[in-house]
Symmetry: D2
Subunit: 357 residues, 4 copies
Amino acid sequence: MGNTFGKIFRLTTFGESHGKAIGGIIDGCPAGLDIDFENIQKQLDRRKPGQSKITTQRKESDTVEFLSGIFEGVTTGTPIGFTIKNEDAKSKDYSHLKDTFRPSHADFTYQAKYGIRDYRGGGRSSARETANWVVAGAIAQQILNKIGVKITAYVSVVGSVKMNKCHKDMDLSQVDANVVRCPDTEIANKMISEIQKTQKEGATIGGEISAIATGVPAGWGEPVFDKLHADLGKEMLSINAVHGFKYGFGGVDIATSKGSEVNDVLLDESGKTKTNFSGGIQGGISNGNDIYCEVAFKPVATLMQKQNSIDADGNTVEIKGKGRHDACVVPRAVPIVESMMALTLADHYLRSKTNKI
Amino acid sequence: MGNTFGKIFRLTTFGESHGKAIGGIIDGCPAGLDIDFENIQKQLDRRKPGQSKITTQRKESDTVEFLSGIFEGVTTGTPIGFTIKNEDAKSKDYSHLKDTFRPSHADFTYQAKYGIRDYRGGGRSSARETANWVVAGAIAQQILNKIGVKITAYVSVVGSVKMNKCHKDMDLSQVDANVVRCPDTEIANKMISEIQKTQKEGATIGGEISAIATGVPAGWGEPVFDKLHADLGKEMLSINAVHGFKYGFGGVDIATSKGSEVNDVLLDESGKTKTNFSGGIQGGISNGNDIYCEVAFKPVATLMQKQNSIDADGNTVEIKGKGRHDACVVPRAVPIVESMMALTLADHYLRSKTNKI
Amino acid sequence: MGNTFGKIFRLTTFGESHGKAIGGIIDGCPAGLDIDFENIQKQLDRRKPGQSKITTQRKESDTVEFLSGIFEGVTTGTPIGFTIKNEDAKSKDYSHLKDTFRPSHADFTYQAKYGIRDYRGGGRSSARETANWVVAGAIAQQILNKIGVKITAYVSVVGSVKMNKCHKDMDLSQVDANVVRCPDTEIANKMISEIQKTQKEGATIGGEISAIATGVPAGWGEPVFDKLHADLGKEMLSINAVHGFKYGFGGVDIATSKGSEVNDVLLDESGKTKTNFSGGIQGGISNGNDIYCEVAFKPVATLMQKQNSIDADGNTVEIKGKGRHDACVVPRAVPIVESMMALTLADHYLRSKTNKI
Amino acid sequence: MGNTFGKIFRLTTFGESHGKAIGGIIDGCPAGLDIDFENIQKQLDRRKPGQSKITTQRKESDTVEFLSGIFEGVTTGTPIGFTIKNEDAKSKDYSHLKDTFRPSHADFTYQAKYGIRDYRGGGRSSARETANWVVAGAIAQQILNKIGVKITAYVSVVGSVKMNKCHKDMDLSQVDANVVRCPDTEIANKMISEIQKTQKEGATIGGEISAIATGVPAGWGEPVFDKLHADLGKEMLSINAVHGFKYGFGGVDIATSKGSEVNDVLLDESGKTKTNFSGGIQGGISNGNDIYCEVAFKPVATLMQKQNSIDADGNTVEIKGKGRHDACVVPRAVPIVESMMALTLADHYLRSKTNKI
C-alpha cells in the first residue's frame, strides 16, 4: 500500500506494463481549473517510447482518457479518474522470464515480497507507470502556472558527457531543440553520440537531469518531516533507475567548500539572495529564489547482451534482453522529472494555504 | 503539519531549541519489546553537544523521560510519549537575532511562512530536534535487532578528506574508536586535523556519512511511491544540513559505468548477489543483501566570522555567530543517520507483514 | 480530498453519476487471494437498480472491469484498478436542474464548496458511487472469509414497520428470500406493502439495516482514535441517506437500562460473554463475540411530488423529480452496508498484524 | 497506531490513567492565534472529576503545561506539545485487577490485542485521555471563534429523563447554570435526582448529549469518505462509553416521517433553509445552517456492586468496583463533546481552504 502520493493534491495509481490499462485518480485537485488537454498529451508524447532514433521502438499512442472530475473542460473538485490503454503490449516477448529473475531487476524482489508476480514486461515495476505521473504532473503544472510557477528540466549528464554550466547561463527554451533534451547544442551532440555508441554495443548508460522551478514564493515546505527538498527527493527517487538526488550547489564542489563560501547573503525582504547555493530552500521551506535540484540515473539493467542469472529453482541460466529498451533513459525521463517536481510543488502550494490564521 | 514520520511505526515530534522541552510520541510500536534504556541514552550521548574537543560546548544532559506506553520496562502497544528538557538554553545568546535573518538559515523562511517565529537558537529549525529522532530511532533499532537487522553508520568524508574503501573492507566495530567516527584510523586522523583547522578559522565544512543495514530480508519496501530507497532518502534529507542522498554503487564511478558493469548477478534463491551495486534494493524492495547509502552534509551556515545580512525591515546588517556551534556536524550526525535508517526500516518491516494473504 | 478509505487496505474512488465511468483503486490488498469474480458480480446485482418491483427502473448492467493487480485470477499485491461504465445515463432527465438546487440534496452544497458542479444526476453525490464500494467490499469479504469471518446485513426497519427480534433468533440465510431483504417473512411482507403504498404516493420513507459479523477474533481496533466501532460508524455514515449509527444493545432500551443490566459477563478466556450488549467491541477493540450494529437511513429527498426550491439566482422555483428513484432505498442498501463493514474489518484485520513484536 | 486525529489540524495523544503524565501534540495549528489560556483551563475544569456532588471524587488539578509551538502567547505554526500530570493516581486501588478482567471493560481486549496491559485504572482505555482532547478542542474552538463559529453542547437525556425541546427553543447560555448541564431547569432537576438515586444504588445510567455549531459557512466536508457528519460521528464514537450517533431531525420521529415532511426547503442563495432536518449538512457538506447532532452514552460499566467475571486463567471471580467513578458520566462529557466537534470542524475548515483554484 504505497501507491498514493501527496497530502492534499493526491495521486493514486495502478497498472502493470502488460495489463489492460494503467491509470490513476487525482484527489484534491482544486475546482475551477480549465484543463489544457493538448498540453497533457504533449507531455505524454515527450515521455513515450518510439519518439526518436535514440529511444526504444515500443509503440504506444499513450492517449489518456479522463473519466471523471472534469465537467465541460473544467475541474469540479471531485476526483479525476483516468486510464491509458496498453496497446502494444507484446506479452510473448516476456514469456521466457516466467521462471527467471533478471539481474538488477525487480523480478526477484516482487516475487519475494508477494509470492507471485505479473512477469510480463516487469509488471508493476515497469517504467510504463510513469505515464500516469506525467498525466497528473501536467495538471499540477497547469495549477502552478496560474500562480506564476514554471518548471523546466533538462539533461545535464549522459555517461561521461557532463555539462558544467549553471542553468542561469543557458536558454532553457531550447530543451526540446534536440532529441537528448540538453539545451546546449554542443554538449547535446556529444551526448547523442555517446548514446548511439552505447546502443550499438547493446549496452546501457546512466546520466543526470537538472530541474528548476522559478516563481515559487517563500513559504512552501512543512518541516520537520515534510521539508520541501525531502519531499522533492523522495518523489525523484521514486522514478525508475534513479539512485541519487541532491539540491542546490550548482557548479561548486561542495565537499571542499566552506560555509562562508556557500552562504547565500540576503539582499532584501523579498528573500532574494546574492547567490543561490541553497537551491531556493532554507530549513526545508522555499525562500523565494529558484528551486534547483539534480537527479542521478543509473544505467538501465536490461541489456541486449548475454548475462548469467538464476531461475525460480535457483538454477543458473543465461539470459539476454529480448524486449525493446533504451540505451539511455535520461532524455525520455525529462518530462517525468518535471512531473514529479510539479506534483510535489502543487501539493506544498495547497498545504501552505493553511499555515496562518 | 509535517511533523509525523512513518505509516505504521509513527513518530510525531515537537519542540524548539530554547523552549521548555522537546519531545515526541511513538505510535505503532509493537507490544512486548523489552526496552533497553541504557542503549537509548548511549545513542543520545553520541549525538549530544560537548562530547569531545571537536564539537560545540553547549551542555545538555539530554536525559529522556518516558511518560507512557512502557509498563514495567516493556512496551504495551500504546503510544510512547517522551520529553527531553532544554537545560542549557542560553536565550540571551540569540536576542540579537530577533530582527535579523542569518544567511542560509531558516530565520527568513519561517518568518515568511508563519509571520512569526521563535528566534531563539533557530527555534523549531534547530538541530536540537534530532535528539527526538535518536530516542525513537534507538527503539526502532531494538525492534530490528530482534529479527537480526543491524545498522551502522560512519563518517566517510570530511571536507576534502575522503575514504574510498568499501564498508566490507573495514572493521565497523571501530566506528567509535575515535571522535570523528571513521573506522579507518589513518583517515580519521586526517579528518580530525581538517576539523580542528576549520575550527580555528571560525569556519565550517561539510562531509558525508555512509550507512549500512545488514540482515534485512528480501521484501521490504512499498512501490511505487514508498519505495524503500525513496523513504530512506526522504528521511535522510530531513536531517539538518543534508543536501544529497544516494544509494548503492559504493566505490564505482556510476557516471561512466555501463549497465553490464554494475548489474548484480543473482547467485541463489535467497537473493544473494555476486556484487551489490544496487545497495540491497531492487525496484524499491530490499533484495536480501546489505542496504547501503550515502548522505551528504553541507557546511553549517552559522559562522564565527562576520557576514552581511538583512533585518526584518530590509536594512543591511553585519552579523557574527555568537552561539556555540560545530565546525563540522558530521561526527555527531552518525547516530542521527542510524536513527533515520532504523525508523524507516522498522516502519517498512511492519508494513511488510501485511503483504500476503 | 476525502476519497480514500482505510489505512492499509485502502480504497480510493472516482466517478459521477453521468460521466463516462465510475471506478476505483484498491491498494494494500494482500497478494495470493483467488478472486471469486462471480461473487463480486452477485453483490453488484443485489445493489443495482431495476432488480425488483420495489426499486428504481434505471437500467445498468453494472459490470465491473478489472484493469490491474490480478494476474491469472490471483491478487498480486499491486493496486487493483477497476471501472464500471455508466451505460444508462439519461442526462437529459437532469438538464432542468442545471440552475436549480433540489431541497435536501447536495446540489447547493457542492456548488457552494467548489463553485461548479456536474449537475447531471447529482454528479459525485449520487449513490451510484456505492457500486464502487460494493466491488471493493466483495473483495474484502473474500479476504475475511478465508479467516472465518462472515458478514450479513438485513433490513430491520422500513418506515413504521419494525422487527424486534434479535439476529440470533432468525435464519440469516433467508435474507434474500424476499425483495425487501428481511429474513422474517411476515415482517418482510408488511415492509413490502409499506414501500408499495409509498411508491404510489410518489413519496419516500426511511428505515434501518442491521449488520452482523461473526468469527471476528479478539484484538481488532486501534484506540484511541481508530476504535473499531468509530471506524465502522464513520464508514456507515458515509453511505448516502444514512443519518444515524449505533452498535450493540440489540433488543434493549438502553436509555432506561442500568450498567448492571447490560454488562457482559465474561465466561472464559476466549472472551466469550454471557450476553452481548457491547456488540462485540470493548474499548474500541473486538472481544471475540459477534460484531453487531444498526444503520439508520432517512427518506430519500427526491420526490415525485411538487416542491418549492430556489435557483442559482435565488428565485423561488417549483420542482418535481423526473428521474428514476426508489421509494425506499433500504433493501438495495443491504450489500452496501455489508461492503462498508467488510472494508472496515479487512483494514483492521491487516492493521492488527503489527500489534505485537 | 490509531492515536492521531485529523488531516490538517492534527492531534496525536499519549498517556495512561496512572502513568506519569498524559499529553499530546497538535500539528497543523495555524500561526498567529493568540491563545486564551484561561479558556483552556476553564474547559478542563468542566471535565475534571470532583467538580460537583454528582461526579467522582478523584482529585486532579488537570493543569496543562505547554512545551512548544506558542511564543509569547501566540501560536507559531510549529507543533504544540503539552502534558498534564497524573497527580492523584492511586495505583493501589487497582492492584486487584492485575489478573482480573472486569465485565464490559477493555481489560480483556487490550490483553488479547497486545499480550500485555497497564492494568492500573484502565491504563490507556481510561477516560482520563479525554483531558487531552479538551486541551486541543479548546484551541480548535478559539480558531473557530475567530471566524464566527460557536459550539455548544448540553445534556438532553439522563436515564429515563428526556428533554424534547429543540435547541432553538432554549437559552443555551444557561448550560452551566446547573451541575447536570441541561439548560432547562425543570428537566435538569429531574436529571439530578435520577443521578443521585442511581449513585445511592451503586449503579450507573447512560444518557445523551446534543451538540450545536452555529456560524459554520456552507462548504465544509470532503465527500465521499470524509463527509462532515461521518467525521463528526467517528470522533463522537471515539468518546468513552458512546455507543450511538445521529445528526439532524431534532424533535421528529424520523422512522415514520416521509421525505416530503422532512425536506428542507431552500429560502435564499445563502443556503438558509425553512427547516433544518438535515442538521446543517447535505451530501456530507455543510449548508450554512446550524450543525446539529446527538451523542448517546451507555451506562458506565464500573459498578460499586458485586459482579462475576474471570481472571487471566479463566477462573470465575467475584469483583466489585473499588475506584472512584461517576454514576452518570454525561454531565462531565459535555466539554468533551464540544471538543470533538471543534476538532472536527477546525480540521474541515482548514481543508476547505484548498477547494478552489
